[in-house]
Symmetry: C2
């Protein structure tokens, strides 16, 4: 079944110890799409400005991403400029130009309103709520956020959290939102805010999954080539949600597999700048690395 | 088969958000012993001063630890005072009194010299080399160290590393010693320094194992009660080395199991101050938690 992703389409300028890319295609919704598309149809909901290169639109279409609810408007596309130093786990934001994001009001084409799966990637929680309101009967709703909204729109965020099935946060966000330093306690505390399922992403240290029925801890794939981790979290979420969108039952096995596929997809993302690797990924690539990964983590 | 551990016996004063203990029994060799004893006979090589409480000696004897090479001398027992704030992964050292450690010259009783397994816990690398020289034909040699020796006795440390089978380091030490930020690269780089097997401990994030034949990544047990993590690394090493000491073949299965048992032992260590939990642990306790752990990490 199809999935909708609401988020950003950005022009990213990224510097890492391995090189620099200027205004390459980026953004939470695009990184999500690159892994979710491997499993299902992806409908992208976002906004870009007049300066958005047409070849990026062609690229997204060629990847099968449905752009019917991608708004093209005057003004400037959202831009992010970041740098990673030796510690590739930690991005230093150099510049953010919100541009058209400031006027973003997401909506859906009528044929998209009955789609059952949706991922609300990191944007203003009020916009996330607005998109959720457009859907007739959502079945699987995932949510991501960031520290900025935790600090500045806490109330709106707590309201939308109640309405979702899966909340995805990184370790710092989980700690900030709950005030719990212990991540297992933080996960339990997030669960009490509403979502049945909580996923805490720990970058190079993997993920923790928490629901009432079971916990699941998974290390990251041990990548010895990390070139640019930008978008790894969204790539993970895309693999996770994309895989789940295709399952009839959200049981333990399906959830664990979804987390594993998300982890594997993210491991490709960090191996190159932007979407250089993930845009070419196939299910076969994921499965091949999964077989190797299984040997590395099983006992 | 028996195992020798060289390390410290200390009186620890520890403050965490959950309470404080003053001059409780601690030290790398003691924490190691508490988990290694579950699998095999442990021979402790260390030094204590005149002020060392006799009840601690009785306690160690009751736990089956062989104290024939524990030196009791005049002067003061090694003391460490530390504090953990909200982030229990990070100890702030408040005070260190080396005391009798400054005059420590380890030696073995003659009946101990043919023991095949040895763990050189964190002390001066020259003392570690001295103890290794006492052994007639060591078979499995494990080594731990710390940043102080990496910075101040790098040459001695690099010399002893060449002589061991297993090098155990935490993530910071692995990065400092190799200059590699990526932990997989750091592990490979440590391997090139000599030891067949490299174990990188990441605290709450688990461990990475590296050897020429295979890699193994394991998350930590998801403990929601962390009271005092002091000694968790040594408890891990004790479980790992203790388990391996009992195996005939050091194959993939044995090594993975040893890492799992070390992880489980460490998970009990953090749940209480000092050795309050690990001193009462049985193989059955470890096996019970292992069954639960397997469900949490397998897919």
């Amino acid at each position: 079944m199809s999935i909708i992703v609401l988020g950003t389409v950005a022009l990213d300028t990224v510097k890492t110890p391995f090189g620099k890319r200027i205004k390459m295609l980026g953004g939470s919704a695009v990184h999500f799409s690159m892994s979710a598309r491997i499993f299902t149809d992806v409908h992208l909901v976002a906004i870009v400005g007049k300066d958005f290169p047409p070849q990026h639109l062609d690229f997204l279409r060629r990847k099968g991403i449905v752009l019917d609810s991608l708004i093209k408007t005057g003004g400037k596309t959202f831009k992010w400029e970041g740098e990673y130093e030796q510690d590739l786990n930690c991005a230093l934001t150099k510049k953010t130009e919100l541009g058209v994001l400031l006027e973003f009001c997401p909506s859906l084409a009528s044929h998209q309103k009955n789609i059952k799966n949706v991922f609300l990637a990191n944007v203003d929680p009020d916009l996330q709520a607005k998109l959720l309101d457009c859907l007739e009967s959502p079945h699987l709703v995932g949510l991501d956020s960031m520290n900025f909204w935790i600090q500045n729109k806490r109330r709106s965020l707590l309201k939308i959290i109640k309405r979702v099935n899966v909340f995805v946060a990184n370790d710092r966000e989980a700690r900030d939102l709950t005030g719990e330093n212990n991540l297992i306690k933080a996960a339990a505390s997030l669960r009490r805010l509403g979502p049945d399922m909580v996923l805490i992403k720990k970058g190079e240290h993997g993920v923790i999954f928490y629901c009432d029925k079971f916990k699941f801890c998974l290390p990251a794939y041990p990548a010895d080539t990390v070139i640019d981790p930008t978008g790894a979290g969204d790539t993970f979420a895309g693999g996770f949600m994309g895989y789940l969108s295709r399952q009839k039952k959200l049981d333990v096995l399906a959830i664990k597999n979804a987390i594993v596929f998300g982890t594997i997809a993210a491991s490709f993302n960090v191996e190159a700048f932007g979407m250089e690797k993930t845009s070419r990924l196939t299910l076969k690539d994921l499965q091949r690395r999964l077989t190797e990964f299984k040997k590395i983590v099983s006992f």
